[in-house]
């Protein structure tokens, strides 16, 4: 008590200092939190766009992958057109499964009549080997279907889990 009695203004200054320090620390925590989450969100948005382009690249690779159809060497996109026109989803599923297993991918492929896709109707053929459908990126490409006048375009949706 004698100590404080002699240093009358000291206590005031000390309390001010403690108060200021606490506030500064809280302020720094706030700034740090804002910067951290901002950077994290920045990174997430960037990665989302990069994943989209990467998924499209994989999608194109899938469509151009060589395969065998009726004893003829061709590509997956021709097989998809054939399976779609001949209503043979089993052929599509088997070949697509082979691709996903070969490249150790997790995701799904859905094939629509282009008009049905626009009208948000159900797909005609599909394959999926994913257990959880979250965290996936989607790529949509169209294929010209010259032999089927009723369905001149088909839409292939490729989903890849990250």
């Amino acid at each position: 008590m004698r100590l404080f009695k002699d240093k009358k203004g000291f206590l005031d200054d000390m309390m001010d200092f403690i108060f200021m320090t606490v506030l500064l620390v809280l302020g720094l925590i706030l700034i740090g939190g804002v910067l951290y989450f901002n950077v994290s969100d920045n990174k997430d948005v960037t990665m989302e766009k990069i994943n989209f382009v990467d998924t499209t690249r994989t999608h194109l690779f899938f469509l151009n992958t060589a395969t065998n159809l009726n004893g003829v060497q061709t590509t997956m996109q021709d097989l998809i057109l054939y399976a779609f026109n001949k209503n043979n989803p089993n052929l599509f599923e088997a070949k697509t499964k082979g691709f996903f297993n070969k490249y150790d991918l997790e995701g799904a492929v859905e094939v629509y009549n282009a008009q049905d896709y626009i009208q948000k109707k159900d797909y005609k053929m599909s394959f999926s080997n994913r257990f959880i459908s979250s965290g996936e990126t989607e790529s949509v490409l169209q294929l010209v279907n010259p032999t089927n006048k009723n369905v001149p375009l088909i839409t292939v949706v490729f989903k890849k889990n990250e």
């Binding site: 001010d16 200021m20 766009k49 382009v53 026109n85 010209v144």
Partner: protein, 244 residues
Amino acid sequence: MNKKASIFHWIPLFLIGAFTFFIIMSHSVDVSVKEKGEWQTTFLQDFVYQGEQDLHNLDQNAGIVLRKSVLQLAARGGYYEDSPCGKTFGLNKLGLNCFPEVSQEFGLTFNELFKGDTFDVSIEGQEVRGKGKKMLNVTSLNPQYNMAIYEFPQNFHVLLGYSFNEYEVLKSELLEILQKCNQNNDLNACLDQHKKVNWKYTDCGSNQFKVEGRTVPFCVKGSKILSEFGNGADVEYKFAVDFP
């Protein structure tokens, strides 16, 4: 209170006020999160991705026409137009001095059938590459980049699943039977003995021997190629051979 220390009262108060002001303003103003490398990711998404889609469509259309070209070229004995040795039975004549330069003839056939640009066509095994003369342009709907144009060559690259080496095999087989049956009086018997199994007379279905002078029409069955209906279509080489 110590006057010197009074500033410590005002600094924290100022900080609290500034923070409160920020919270209030951020509710009314959209403080969006911009990605890192915004220009680069926009370039990838708006331009490169669109360009890849356009090239994919080109590959698809080119593939359909390439297969038609293979069948058409084979039906003409490997020639885009008439053989320099002439025609018999409506078929181009092939011989020792008359055999087509396949890559050149194929390019001409393809460009005749493909509507649009003209391509320099080159063959690499079972793959065909086409180098376009025109450039493809991609623009963005993003108002920030609406003045930008992404330009790239209109080239295609297609896996045909068919080998043009069949023409080399055909040529060697042709030279073999020319050597064996030239100046042979019984042409039919000689050809029956020396021609390959996949060589048929006149038509690949009928195999009926015909001759006009010393010229015989042939149909040689090659490998299969994907038809437009997704089935395997036989490539049939149709030509006539003169045995002087």
